[in-house]
Symmetry: C2
């Protein structure tokens, strides 16, 4: 296979416009899993793309949105690579916050802007195109590849664990799982990430009287659900940033020294980071560093809080209902179901009138930094890009990697292809086109290196 990577690199350079159009076509398809809009149709589209590339591909039904499962054998039988991605996208949010419409992708300054460009359509499409190129050049894949494309990642992949349990024949032989999602931490290097935080998403609903009331005649007579939520939330995290849910901190496994050192070595420049997101200062936190906030500690984020009057000026009303949406990022030792028990118990103890509703969860995941396949992948990234990748013990975001490390019991690495400012989950999400094209080359290099290992 000598020279194959060079030929891949040359073909990608020649076909940039055609590959861009394939990504544009894919991003145009709405697939908002939170509302269900367009999800099944988009799954069918990418299944057909894979079938067109010689994969045995199908929509696999779940209790929610379907997954795409696609397999193609290789010249060698091993190692068997499983590539996980997701074809669903986040809700676009308010249209007026986008400089171009979220589902009418537009190229500006070398980036493609649109919902799902980087998170995650562009990233798994790079892998798909890489398999096509390898088959074109070699007549066959060098080693077997299975794609598993989730339709529910942005709502917490509630059926992925069951899906992996349902596919023992197709997945049991997996040697390594690679997930390309999220941004790299720096635009001049790629990351190999060994662990991911888990997540627990939930909603707190507080009620008071049966209807909105006049704040002068009824203020402080029935419970105000906004005050109920303010005091409940303040009891869950204090003003210094300590999460104070009863029993929560006790679950955290202290970081191994090697990971702690790896995190310290990766510490970003605080002023630069704050400037990049337009924030005036760091949030209050007991963490010693930014790296610790992102990688070593759990977080409790209020994603949204709504209740009462929100129009112009003021309205002297006592609201009767309020809702807070929250997520907790979990670190090693914090199984999601155990933490959910703690949250429910805390809510019952501190605010018995509040209803806590579960919106999905993922366990944290960890793969050993000594995993041999990781060294192979690192060599491939070096071969494709000329730069040594950065080895990160863990990452702030949450992906359902635990399904692979815990349920399937295989090593799972995150190899993000996105640019650092991809703005995933936000308006003006984008994918730098150079990184899309380079992602194709990286995927081909990884497949070639694994087959040669």
């Amino acid at each position: 296979m000598d020279g194959t990577l060079e030929r891949v690199t040359r073909l990608v350079a020649e076909r940039r416009e055609a590959y861009l159009q394939r990504l544009v076509e894919y991003v145009r398809l709405r697939s908002v899993s939170a509302t269900g809009e367009g999800v099944r149709g988009t799954g069918g589209y990418i299944r057909d793309v894979l079938a067109g590339g010689g994969f045995r591909a199908r929509l696999h039904e779940t209790a929610g949105h379907p997954a795409v499962v696609a397999h193609r054998a290789g010249t060698r039988d091993r190692p068997h690579l499983l590539i996980y991605g997701h074809y669903d996208v986040q809700p676009p949010g308010e249209d007026e916050l986008w400089d171009s419409p979220p589902f009418a992708p537009e190229v500006r300054a070398g980036r493609l802007f649109g919902r799902g460009t980087a998170d995650n359509k562009g990233q798994h499409l790079a892998h798909v195109i890489a398999t096509e190129l390898l088959v074109e050049l070699l007549g066959e894949l060098p080693a077997p590849v299975t794609f598993l494309l989730d339709g529910e990642e942005e709502v917490g992949s509630p059926h992925l664990d069951q899906l992996v349990r349902d596919l023992p024949d197709e997945l049991a032989g997996t040697d390594l799982v690679i997930v390309s999602d999220g941004p790299t931490a720096r635009d001049d290097r790629y990351d190999i990430v060994y662990g991911l935080r888990g997540i627990l998403a939930f909603e707190l609903t507080a009620t008071g009287a049966a209807r909105d009331l006049h704040s002068g005649h009824f203020g402080e007579i029935p419970p105000n659900p906004l005050w109920t939520l303010v005091h409940l939330l303040a009891s869950m995290k204090d003003a210094a940033g300590n999460i104070t849910i009863d029993g929560f901190q006790e679950l955290v496994t202290p970081l191994p020294v090697r990971e702690r050192q790896a995190i310290a070595a990766l510490e970003p420049d605080p002023a630069e980071l704050l400037a990049s997101i337009g924030a005036p200062r760091l949030a209050p936190s007991p963490a010693a560093s930014i790296g610790e906030r992102e990688m070593a500690r759990p977080t409790l984020t209020i994603n949204g809080l709504h209740g009462g009057y929100g129009g112009p000026r003021n309205k002297t009303v006592l609201p009767h209902r309020a809702v807070a949406k929250c997520d907790i990022r979990l670190v090693d030792g914090q199984a999601a179901d155990t933490v959910w028990e703690l949250v429910q118990r805390h809510v019952r103890a501190h605010a018995p009138d509040v209803t806590a509703t579960w919106h999905g969860a993922m366990h944290p995941s960890r793969t050993s930094m000594d995993e041999p396949f990781a060294a192979v992948v690192a060599g491939a990234v070096r071969a494709a890009t000329g730069r040594e990748p950065i080895h990160r013990p863990t990452m702030g975001g949450s992906l359902p990697m635990w399904v692979f490390t815990r349920t399937l019991g295989r090593p799972a690495l995150l190899l993000p292809l996105g640019n650092v400012d991809e703005a995933n989950h936000a308006p003006n999400e984008n994918f730098a086109l150079d990184r899309f094209y380079q992602g194709i080359v990286i995927s081909a290099a990884v497949q070639l290196a694994l087959a040669g290992s």
Copy 2:
């Protein structure tokens, strides 16, 4: 004038349908001062009604919405009664929460439903119709009456103080001010209220990063404006209901024993009150009683709080902006401008990134329970209804009575005509028609009694 009140009572009974149609016509006119919708036109409408009743009536310009000022002399020169009301209304809120459209009033079960029926169009229209009846029966009013109808009461009457200062010739001779607004406390009795709490309405705006971010990659790195507001608000009132704004409690003048006893005598049945508003329990409070919560203590109400995601399910976003709208009800000793200084100082000390915006204020007001005209008014209510009114030292709501007691320096009484469940400021606001008709008779009785005093 012997027998006049009986003739008024008979005529009102005969003309119920016609008076109802006058109220319907008035409520149909939108006059939402918070947005400005229809305000000036509605002011012109009620000015024309007063002019048609022989008043010298005009729209008086202010720096905001105009007020209606109307005067008619009486057979006697004194006492000169000033009747204050407001022709503006609260925003209707969401249409789907109303059983009939807020500006298409509908009669159901003896009540007229619509925004502004009781708060305040129906209540001052009862006084207007009373003057028409007295002129019809006596050829002239028994004593001079001035109407002052505010177009900005629901946004805090920001220009009323200046207006009263601007009208020395017309208002200097005022002997008594009567305001009919809000509900009575019980449907079988009327209230004479001597004092009112003040109000301070404001907004707290918190910002974090320049845009919404991914909660996994950026959680606890920039400040989350929702957490900023949660902790700021929790520092302003604790979970036990104590208002903890620095320096706030120290301003409160302890209640005179006579007023405290009057409040104790008026204590409602808690179970009955909670059932009437559909609330499961009382809010946490250091207050010993419901009466104390409503009449003796200041309150801090969050009227609305909005930030981040509010759609279906969940979205793992770290919001960049959040807004809380609040009102504080002030008691004797708490001048609104002094408290506003304390709020701003507290916000600066506890959350320097939060902007506090003033949305209007009223000082508290108090008239002596020994005021001689109050006894005359009480006698008139007794004559009109056959029941002794209830003397209340103060009331939970806020009206700009301080303009009359502090700026004009005259006694000012609140004589609410609304039913206890009028649902002012809420969906399905309504005015019980029997009370509308009885309000006309009460107003005529008060005018007759004052002229005879």
